[in-house]
Amino acid sequence: MIAALDNHAVCDSEVVFHMHGVSKSYKTDAIEVMALHSVELELKAGEFIVFLGPSGSGKSTLLNILGGLDRPTSGDVRFRDHWLSKSDDAGLTRFRREHVGFVFQFYNLIPSLTALENVMLVTEIAEDPMRPEEALQLVGLTERQNHFPAQLSGGEQQRVAIARAIAKKPDILLCDEPTGALDFPTAKLVLDVLRQINIELATLVAVITHNSAIAGMADRVIRLRSGEIVEITHNASKVLPEELSW
């Protein structure tokens, strides 16, 4: 019921991402690989989006472009008033710094920093961050805040990574196979954290995965194949992570 209400709320919210005619090709010596082909897409604030697709479908490329890690070969990408497709390297860095939180498949924590410090790393360069302790509390890791990554389990490491990503209060949280390296119960725990962030902070969460089971908890599911969007599904009612199974 709550999920349905949320879904309704999202429908009315502002469109923050505009992608228009976005194509991306990679040239290597002789061959040109088309990773994305004329993608048209809009993402709204507070949405929970799941990008689904097999390897090579272009979902990572799409995420890179959304996250300001890469520029399209052609087409326009706009985040509110930031024209990402026209930004230079420094502009993209600023965009990532101010608006984007990343969660990686392999967590990518800095091994020489404790959980708390990994979060602090981001709060120190953000404009209006939450307190690092607060971010860790949101992911339920207050107890483990002074541990180094090597002393944490995979799930704990991923939660630290999420805390690090949300601590700056990003407008968009991009998650690349966030559960790819986790076992089933841990994965559900992590997904639940993502869900909470989405609801409590109204952060636009975009998860890319090839695990279609996760699709159930999204507002919208966007399926990609061979660099094109083949299907967009609206979930009338969202499933809670604990109800997921794969």
Binding site: L69, F104, F106, N108, P111, I125, P149, A150
Partner: protein, 787 residues
């Protein structure tokens, strides 16, 4: 080409930055070895060949005057192979184009060229004709400095007579490879001191030495006992006013060259060793990293059945390929510098041939040392590669575990996460940090030592020519004169102030030890020649007693308050006991000082002087010089400013090469180490740094984190480098210490500043190279790849 070899070549190309850095450091080591070791061997060989072929004498003695027949008993001394008598006299010269008077050392030679001792090596012109009266052969250094050529004429006051001399030949002699006057003047001044060889038939009568001699040189038979022969010669010659016979070790030119050769040998061992140790460290660090990144390659190789031996050999070959590139480059550069160095040596030391000819064995040794460096450097990494079980190698390296650093446990909360990353990384690999710091320390040390040596030389010059010798001109008379001469000299045009001195050759004896020197007698209240120790403290002369150099006191084993036996070697040759009133820690020579009247009393003579020190009006120098050139009583005139500037000129020339070279070499070490360190850190932590970039860190912030570690290592090395440089200066000063001179331990702030700038330059250059790499960091790849 075997596949593994193809991999080898591609790996080297991939790691080219690091490979070049390692190869360059090895090249520096090899180059310095090839340059100096071969220079040492060339000098040694040139000296030995010259001495043998031109029959450099073994024993020398100067005396007042002895009849020719008195050489007979000398020839009869057991062990003496050959003895030759001659006349040697210092005279004042008038050289065309030279304002100041110069000192010529006239040495008689047989009218016909014979196979005598100390034979001349004729460079140009011809030997003297026996009948032509005024022909001379000039020494090469003197001729060159004054642009004298065949047919040039000089004038000299010989025994009171103004005489014209014509240069008919230019030659060098094994006695004057390093051409200096000796006595108090140890600095070469080829413009104002030169040797002129003249027919004995001419010179003997001109100096009232017909049928007599005042110098004898002796060669020894193999296995003869030099000390015995010297003692017997002294017994024979004392009655003729001998100043005491001495062997090659006290022959001034030989002594300088032998000291130089010994120093070159030390440098040839020390300097290359520093570079090669650093090179081994670099190889070690780079290869440990290489093996870590190639864990999976190693696993694959082993899984497909490559033996441990093959895998190990692969990595050894890798290090050898890099090292041998450095070796070849080093040999070429070393050869080039050797040729340059030989030309500098040729300015100081006159050999018939001083070519830089590196021997095959020098290259062989350099090659073996390079091999040892490469293998010892790679050994750790290679053995790790060999020991890695294939299954384990398949798995990625264990994630690094960290802990709070010592600094943090002391609870310093000010540190930002970025700073903590830097500090923890350093603390996690303390040996690596230490090794890097050590290498940078070495490069600083090299610069500090190089500059410090010149600082020391400068200080020596400053002390000697500004503080101790305060006169403008020192005039030495051809024999002791009455005080009246002093007044005559004082009345010469332009003389503002004059102070007489008395110099007496003596043998100082304490118990069974003795040294030859001269006692310098100075007037009480003297101002133009002071007695100053190396710290700058002035000592005043006691009315009685003698003051000697500390090194002389140490050699003799005598302490202040004890009696020293003074055996005078001129005049009536009195032997007296004189109380040692004090010692003075001087930098140059083994000197002895007495108050002039006390010395006169000891000599049982009236108020006699040996010369005078003059302070002159620089505007009237010209006419003063003109007069001095013609004064019959004057044996030698030394002009301080001329000596100083000529010496400085020579030093500057040699300085530019050695300082320039070592600065480049030191920069290579520093850049090699800092660049390699940052490069390794970059490859180890590429994913970490890319993650930071994704999280919104700018390129500059990421570069700061990466280079911060190198910056701390570099900054930490600086004070240690300074200290090591100073310590090395002290060690070298102690090593180089001879009776001729002692190097003071002086490192001026500018020298430290140079070392600092070089390291900063290296650090910034490395930083720029690395920051370009950070710009090309593939930030997207870390989203997928693990490590």
């Amino acid at each position: 080409m075997a596949t593994l070899h193809r991999k080898l070549v591609r790996d080297v190309l991939h790691m080219r930055g690091q490979a070049i850095a390692i190869a360059l450091v090895i090249a520096c080591g090899v180059a310095s070895f090839v340059t100096m070791r071969a220079m040492y061997r060339s000098l040694l060989r040139s000296q030995a060949d010259y001495y043998t072929q031109y029959r450099f004498a073994n024993i020398f003695a100067e005396l007042k005057r002895a009849p020719d027949w008195s050489a007979g008993p000398i020839r009869g001394i057991p062990g003496v192979a050959q003895a030759e008598t001659r006349v040697v006299m210092d005279v004042t010269l008038d050289v065309p184009g030279l304002q100041e008077p110069a000192v010529g050392r006239l040495i008689s030679i047989p009218p016909r060229q014979a196979r005598g001792l100390n034979a001349l090596f004729m460079l140009r012109g011809r030997y003297i004709f026996p009948t032509a009266g005024n022909e001379v052969i000039a020494s090469e250094a003197f001729a060159k400095a004054n642009s004298l050529d065949l047919g040039s004429t000089l004038h000299a006051v010989i025994n009171g007579r103004w005489q014209k001399l014509i240069v008919v030949g230019i030659a060098i002699s094994p006695e004057y490879i390093y051409e200096i006057r000796g006595g108090a003047s140890l600095f070469p001044d080829n413009k104002r001191f030169g040797v002129l060889w003249m027919s004995a038939d001419e010179l003997e009568p001109a100096l009232n030495m017909k049928g007599a001699f005042n110098s004898i040189t002796v060669s020894l038979m193999p296995h003869a006992n030099e000390a015995d022969v010297i003692a017997q010669m002294d017994r024979e010659l004392d009655r003729y006013g001998s100043l005491g016979a001495y062997g090659r070790s006290d022959q001034i030119s030989n002594r300088f060259i032998s000291d130089e050769i010994a120093q070159t040998r030390v440098s040839a061992n020390v300097i290359p060793a520093i570079f090669l140790v650093v090179a081994a460290l670099l190889v070690h660090l780079s290869f440990t990293r290489l093996v870590n990144t190639q864990r999976s390659d190693i696993a694959v190789m082993k899984a497909f059945g490559y033996s441990n031996w093959k895998v190990g050999a692969h990595y050894v070959e890798f290090s050898l390929l890099v090292a041998m590139t450095g070796y070849v480059l080093g040999c070429a550069v070393g050869w080039y510098f050797g040729i340059r160095l030989a030309s500098i040596y040729a300015e100081f030391y006159r050999f018939p041939i001083l070519t830089y000819r590196p021997e095959f064995r020098t290259f062989l040794w350099a090659g073996l040392i390079t091999l040892a460096t490469a293998i010892s450097g790679a050994a750790g990494a290679v053995s790790r590669a060999v020991a890695l079980p294939p299954a384990e190698a398949m798995r990625p390296e264990q994630p690094a575990s960290y802990r709070p650093t010592i600094i943090e446990r002391l609870d310093f909360r000010f540190m930002s996460p970025a700073l903590r990353m830097i500090v923890r990384n350093l603390e996690r690999r303390p040996w690596r940090a230490l090794a890097s710091s050590f290498a940078i320390c070495c490069s600083i040390m090299i610069v500090v030592v190089e500059f410090g040596m010149f600082d020391a030389l400068d200080r020596m010059m400053e002390l000697q020519f500004r503080d101790i010798q305060r006169e403008d001109i020192a005039v030495t008379l051809n024999e002791a004169h009455s005080a009246r001469t002093q007044f005559e000299l004082a009345r010469l045009p332009g003389v503002i102030h004059s102070e007489p001195f008395r110099a007496v050759p003596v043998r100082l004896r304490y118990q069974n030890k003795w040294r030859k020197t001269a006692i310098l007698g100075l007037q009480d209240g003297n101002n133009l020649r002071l007695i100053i120790d190396q710290k700058g403290n002035r000592l005043s002369l006691p009315p009685n007693g003698i003051i000697i150099s500390s090194i002389l006191a140490t050699t003799l084993g005598v302490k202040p308050g004890q009696n020293l036996r003074v055996e005078v070697l001129e005049g009536r040759r009195p032997v007296r006991d004189v109380v040692l009133a004090g010692t003075v820690d001087e930098l140059i020579g083994t000197n002895a000082y007495m108050e002039m009247h006390a010395l006169n009393r000891l000599m049982q003579e009236d108020h006699l002087i040996s010369g005078t020190l003059l302070q002159v009006d620089s505007g009237k120098k010209q006419s003063l010089y003109q007069q001095l050139k013609h004064l019959p009583a004057v044996a030698a005139v030394s002009i301080k400013s001329a000596t100083v500037s000529s010496f400085k000129e020579t030093i500057d020339r040699s300085m530019s090469l050695s300082i320039g070279t070592l600065m480049v070499f030191a920069s290579i070490i520093a850049i090699g180490m800092i660049y390699n360190g940052a490069r390794i850190a970059l490859s180890e932590r590429a994913s970490e740094l890319a993650t930071l970039r994704i999280l919104g860190f700018t390129r500059r912030e990421v570069t700061f984190i990466l280079l911060g570690e190198q910056a701390i290592i570099t900054v930490a090395a600086i004070p240690f480098g300074f200290a090591a440089g100073y310590a090395m200066c002290a060690i070298l000063a102690d090593r180089i210490k001879t009776e001729l001179y002692r190097m003071p331990i002086v490192v001026r702030p500018t020298s430290y500043a140079w070392a600092f700038f070089i390291v900063m330059f290296a650090a910034i250059a490395s930083g720029v190279l690395i920051s370009q790499r950070v710009a090309h960091l593939d930030i997207v790849s870390v989203l997928k790849a693990r490590e």
